[in-house]
Symmetry: C2
Subunit: 415 residues, 2 copies
């Protein structure tokens, strides 16, 4: 599945063409920008399986700047990207090689050994890394290990300033800024987790061209096409937890699991369930069949706690919260609860009521909007509760990426 977040990378670097031209058997010279673009693209292949680790990709060039190999971090606990890219190359191939990797090679010996130590012992000449390791206790240490061995370890954004850059030139300055942005996006979950100790929150919805998620009677099947609906399962598969409101569960009785060919992952499910209605009728619902009980979490109004407590077979994963004066839960509290239980990223799927709360509280980092080419008229939107007094207060989305879903369009953006 192509990740929508690397669409601009595709067009900026003619990536489809470039990927078809590189292989381990033909000699093809590429520059550092191109190598980093390929490394970023590689990294996304791990999107479904690396959490809580970051996605990382790696490209190796020989001493003449020819493409040698690529690799990515595939599954949490298994080999890192650098190892996957380097493992099939012999010492002769690696003479004066350049390793281009999206994140600073790890210094510490964890589940899989230190990448920096591994590279130190190879005859490579240089490591160009995209981002400094954000853990402040270890940041810079991986690079230092490589430098101490007499090799170069250079942050990508600083590479252009060096005279050696001329032998393997970066394309131009605007490439650098663009790629830096793409590196930040690639690591968006991880960076937020480390810097702010909170999960990355994505909102997802399916809408008509005129912005409706459902008719007034809540009918919504189907707004978007089959391609969009399949991709929505990909989005579930790249997040640790899925958040929905009780209304959606009670109205539609959905499974809310990941149904994607070749993917057997089970994510966590968080139901915002103020009156404990889903909680109490859980066993009768489709979600009970589709999810292991330990993977289902509830957020219940403190006032309804007695009802919840008296329910037989109660869950351990319940957060009791007080509603604010405006009658809604403070969403950041829910996120904190999820983060403490290992969820590094959350996908909020609605329904309309839940999404409106997210937009009102601005409690999200990214939107995924599937836009169908239909007009639905009066109905329920995701922003109905937002009342702006002036256009200057509109929510301006940033870093827009779009992907055609046949006649539908998937638009994703940061807020």
């Amino acid at each position: 599945m192509v990740d929508v977040r690397c669409q601009k990378l595709y067009s900026a670097f003619g990536l489809k063409q470039l990927l078809s031209e590189i292989s381990s058997t033909t000699k093809k010279k590429i520059n550092i920008s191109q190598a980093m673009a390929i490394a970023i693209h590689e990294a996304y292949q791990g999107a479904q399986n690396v959490s809580p680790n970051p996605m990382v990709g790696c490209v190796v060039l020989d001493g003449h700047g020819n493409f040698l190999s690529k690799g990515y971090h595939q599954v949490y606990g298994s080999a890192h990207a650098e190892i996957n890219a380097l493992k099939d190359l012999d010492r002769e191939q690696l003479q004066d090689a350049t390793v281009v990797v999206t994140l600073e090679p790890c210094a510490h010996v964890g589940k899989t050994g230190s990448c920096a130590l591994f590279i130190r012992d190879l005859p490579v000449k240089r490591v160009v890394y995209g981002l400094v390791d954000p853990f402040h206790l270890v940041s810079g240490k991986g690079a230092q290990i490589i430098k101490d061995a007499g090799k170069e370890a250079i942050l990508f954004s600083e590479f252009t300033d060096r005279s050696e850059g001329k032998t393997t030139p970066i394309m131009n300055q605007s490439d650098t800024a663009f790629i830096n942005q793409q590196l930040e996006i690639l690591a968006e979950n991880f960076l937020l987790n480390v810097r702010q100790s909170k999960p990355f929150v994505s909102l997802k919805w399916a809408q008509s061209l005129d912005g409706k998620m459902a008719l007034k009677n809540y009918e919504s099947q189907w707004i978007t096409n089959a391609t969009s609906r399949t991709y929505a399962h990909y989005l579930r598969s790249i997040h640790d937890g899925l958040i929905v409101g009780a209304g959606t569960v009670l109205r539609d009785n959905p499974k809310l699991n990941i149904r994607l060919e070749g993917v057997s992952k089970e994510g966590k499910l968080i139901v915002i369930d103020p009156d404990a209605e889903v909680f109490k009728s859980f066993e009768k619902l489709e979600i009970a069949k589709a999810h292991k009980k330990e993977n289902v979490f509830f957020v219940i109004d403190t006032k309804a706690s007695q009802a919840a407590d008296s329910t037989p077979g109660s869950f351990k994963n319940v957060l009791f919260l007080n509603k604010s004066e405006s009658g809604f839960f403070p969403l950041e509290e829910i996120h904190k609860f999820c983060f403490e239980r290992g969820m590094k990223s959350l996908l909020v799927e609605g329904g309309p009521g839940t999404l409106n709360q997210y937009i009102l509280q601005k409690a999200f980092n990214r939107t995924y909007a599937f836009i169908a080419s239909v007009i639905m008229g009066d109905g329920l939107g995701y922003s109905d509760d937002l009342q702006l007094s002036s256009m200057s207060k509109k929510i301006q989305l940033k870093n827009i990426e779009k992907l055609d879903m046949d006649d539908d369009t998937l638009l994703t953006a940061l807020v």
Copy 2:
């Protein structure tokens, strides 16, 4: 300006690359599908200036299938596409040539002479034309003139069935269906004009991602970016008339003219002005400065006719109409009025009230939606008055084409 309607053609035929490879000096063999794709693309260059004629494009291949030249109908009253493509080629080059043209060559000697007669006298072998001339009195006559001269004249969609097709093969059957669709779209105004004696009506609006055209207080500046706003002037320039409601004129006092570099065209302006308010205050408004009086048309409620009549300096171009029981004008009557006054295509720009009426009455052929990557919340949309009881009644748009306007998206579709 790239016409959004040929976006799929671009991607399906790698047209950008193909156009860069063909020239009169290098020999490049292309097949009939590619030639027709280029001819369609050429035709759109005339979009602003050929009305009431259709847009037509033409490509000439030499006896070996090499590209020789291309041309399009540039301005109403001037040379047709075939003449423009053929005029710089000598008889030697044209030996056994194939002329690929989007519309059947004209038979009659009108403002510019008969294209069929012109081709008859050249040593070309074959004409492949996209559509039969829709005027039933002359349809097939152009092709007959060419056949009578011992040459081939073949409708594009019938070309694959012929054994001669093998020497200049059409790519495949799906190409044929796709190109036929593109040919119909290219001629959409003209075909509707001829077949149904009515103007082609396009709706245009700028919307937020959540489907709003303005806040509740009617503030709307600016939803979309500068690229979108410039393209909106291109849309004005390819329609004969522009329709707006009185509310928009009175609220925003816009110029409503075409402001596009290199274009000096003045279109016609139709104001739906039930209470004759714009009519009466015309001289004080910006539209009075931006438009010649003979190019401004009003649609006024019959009940307000007395007020209109007593206004000094009255217009000739006024349509008095009765509102229907639901309190709105029958829009088809307005279109008929415009068609009788030479307008073959109309662009409806709103505001929200006018667009809602168009959508309720389904009185349009095409939509142009500029979608900005912003969330505006509660506000005014173009479909608020549409109340659907079931999803099966949603307005499904067809033949979707999309064009990036930087972070905005232009989506156009047929209804």
